[in-house]
């Protein structure tokens, strides 16, 4: 093994699905044989050129990749410091980065002969992406969505129904993403033989965290070469929002071994990261535990009971985080910070006003941190933030938060 490889941050996970002590396969025995089958199939598939040819074709002609790397000139001027680029994954078909991963998993499911696809969704973006690809391939699709999220993300619920998916509102717990994932796992354990569970983020039992990361890494690979074209060099800082952490992992991974690149993940601080625990900042406000098949940082009480996160953004409203992020946090290779709902709302408006881009509330968190640090950085410092989703789905939530009466145009 060369010394370069020994020092690489890109070799994980190990054969047990661990990134350091994080990750693993903490699932019931009923699911274990399935997880092992999936791992075998994925290991085979990821070195199969015909698989990647099919992905590339669909990424180009169905999703619209590569997504542009866009120099946000007015935003840069307004903040008066670092040069800000946006990786425009919100321009993908279905409006977010989620479809990058869904395509990979559905093609894999087809190769494994599975006829029924299940998914969990928070903001609805992963659900919509899954319903979309299932419609394209004529597969049965069932999406579990917390009842609370069904209420605050109605447009996406309707989209999924139009696309032929069955949307199951989950009422257990507080009815958010965590509870949707529980019910998806309960479904999987019941219909284990014909069902493929399409997980939307870099969490869950091995091999999901690695597999979803590999599919999402197209974001970072493109950004790396596009930045080279635009600036003739690597960015100085890459920034992305984190719930489970798939858009961030996708952007970060290709840069992990470029030591000059500062990597920052932005968690949802909700009402503020403090003892009230009304936030979703697992790394900055939680501690290691085991949930949903992996060991990772979790929001939990003194007895090890999982706490409900809180965020204005349904897509970040999850009490855990992908295990590779936990490892990057502990090794210090990536920094993790949090921004509050109010800061994210301000950044949402800033993007609308200066760039004519209505961002989703998730990347608004990343943008809020950009707005914090950019003014203090020199003008030759290059930031690349992941604009991972568009905000059409969030306009009702934002209107409510800004006390805007949507009915006055009726």
């Amino acid at each position: 093994m060369s010394s370069e490889l020994i020092n690489s941050f890109k070799t994980g996970p190990d054969e047990n699905g661990r990134f350091g002590t994080f990750g693993g396969r903490f699932v019931s025995e009923t699911l274990m044989p399935l997880i092992l089958d999936l791992e075998t199939e994925y290991e085979k598939t990821k070195t199969d050129q015909s698989f990647w040819d099919e992905m590339d074709h669909l990424w180009t002609h169905y999703v619209g990749r590569p997504s542009p790397l866009y120099f946000a000139e007015r935003l840069t001027d307004r903040l008066g410091g670092a040069k800000i680029y946006m990786k425009r994954d919100e321009l993908n078909h279905t409006g977010a980065h989620k479809i990058n991963n869904v395509l990979g998993q559905i093609i894999l499911a087809r190769r494994m002969g599975k006829s029924r696809i299940i998914a969990e969704t928070g903001a609805g973006q992963h659900g919509v992406a899954t319903a979309t690809v299932c419609a394209k391939f004529g597969l049965k699709c069932v999406v579990y969505m917390g009842a609370h999220d069904v209420e605050r993300q109605k447009p996406n619920v309707f989209r999924m129904k139009l696309l032929g998916a069955e949307v199951v509102p989950v009422t257990s717990g507080r009815g958010t993403l965590k509870d949707a994932m529980n019910d998806a796992l309960r479904d999987w354990v019941t219909y284990v033989r014909d069902t493929f569970y399409c997980i939307g983020t870099v969490a869950g039992p091995h091999p999901y965290p690695a597999m979803v990361r590999d599919f999402q890494s197209i974001i970072g690979k493109e950004a790396r070469s596009q930045m080279n074209e635009a600036e003739g060099r690597l960015p100085d800082t890459v920034i992305a929002a984190i719930g489970g952490g798939s858009n961030a992992m996708g952007l970060f991974h290709p840069f992990l071994d470029d030591r000059s690149v500062r990597i920052i993940g932005v968690e949802a601080g909700g009402k503020g990261v403090d003892d009230r625990m009304e936030h979703c900042a697992s790394l900055t406000g939680g501690r290691p535990g085991v949930l949903h098949g992996n060991r990772t940082y979790l929001l939990q009480d003194g007895d090890g009971q999982i706490l409900e996160g809180f965020s204005i953004s349904a897509g970040l409203d999850y009490p855990g985080i992908g295990p590779e992020h936990s490892w990057l946090h502990e090794t210090g290779r990536a920094e993790y910070v949090s921004v509050t709902d109010q800061e994210a709302l301000k950044a949402f408006q800033l993007s609308c006003e200066t760039e004519g881009i209505i961002p989703a509330l998730e990347p608004s968190h990343a943008l809020a941190h950009v707005a914090k640090i950019a003014p203090g950085l020199p003008s030759d410092h290059v930031i690349c933030m992941n604009m991972c989703g568009r905000g059409d789905k969030d306009i009702f939530t934002v209107a409510k938060a800004l006390d805007w009466n949507m009915t006055e145009f009726d």
Partner: protein, 263 residues
């Protein structure tokens, strides 16, 4: 030899089948839960499975989910569950207790302190749903070293290739999950379960009990005929959830025990 080993040896000597009852610790509150627990040996329960409440019980159906929520709302914690076992042990030294639940509260407590405290309280074995053999170093091996049985779940998806791995490092008894699914869902079918039990017995000398989807005394008898015992959980917990007093819950448990014992 743990209380579990002793109990199954005695049952085998008498030619009887085991009746295993699951109740949730602290459901609906500590005192009522203790009253039910203390009544279980007298009602004919051979092995007690005591549920550890957890916010996210991924393998459980609505009945057990709600029981966990009731217990947590009443203030139940892992420490209080061990206190419950300790209180039970004050006047009962033979009936084995197996804690059944999920790993996070145990990991949160710390594996070594947990094993020490559990052993001291009078716990005999553990069934931890989200710890498959692949994660044996976490708790299974340390638990065996501490003198607790680590009981494994075998399921309809556990194929021939995998079965030896599942049996490795297990002790006490084997819990065969009769259905693919969550607790309290579909009904176990004796005709389908029989060959599965034989398949497991071919690779282990441990007793094999069958659970998930057994709801009535008749069903318990049918299953006990083709295995070493039957487990009932959701049907009991459902009565607690309906607010029935401990005495009525214990009456139902006695009928279930009689069913299994008549096999």
């Amino acid at each position: 030899m743990t209380r579990i080993d002793a109990r199954f040896a005695a049952l085998r000597a008498e030619g009887r089948k085991a009746f295993v009852a699951y109740v949730m610790a602290g459901d609906p509150d500590f005192e009522s839960s203790l009253e039910i627990l203390k009544g279980l040996p007298g009602a004919g329960v051979d092995v007690i499975e005591l549920g550890l409440p957890f916010t996210d019980p991924m393998a459980d159906g609505p009945v057990i989910q709600l029981a966990g929520q009731r217990a947590l709302a009443a203030g139940q914690t892992l420490k209080k569950t061990l206190a419950l076992v300790q209180a039970f042990r004050e006047d009962e030294d033979e009936a084995p207790i197996v804690l059944m639940g999920y790993y996070n509260p145990i990991m949160n407590h710390g594996v070594e302190p947990f094993l020490r405290d559990a052993k001291a309280a009078g716990v005999d074995g553990l069934i931890i749903v989200d710890l498959p053999p692949e994660e044996d170093d976490e708790l299974c091996i340390p638990a065996q070293e501490a003198g607790l049985n680590f009981i494994r779940l075998a399921t309809p998806t556990t194929d021939e290739r995998r079965l030896p791995k599942v049996m490795q490092n297990t002790s006490g008894f084997v819990y065969y999950v009769s259905i693919t699914g969550i607790t309290g869902a579909a009904n176990a079918v004796a005709g389908e379960v029989g060959p599965e039990v034989d398949r497991i017995k071919a690779v282990t000398d441990l007793p094999v009990v069958v659970g998930f989807g057994i709801k009535t005394p008749d069903a318990g008898r049918e299953i006990a005929r083709i295995a070493d015992g039957a487990v009932v959980g959701s049907a009991i917990v459902d009565l607690v959830g309906k607010g029935r007093p401990p005495a009525e819950v214990l009456d139902f448990i006695r009928k279930l025990a009689d069913g299994a014992h008549s096999a």
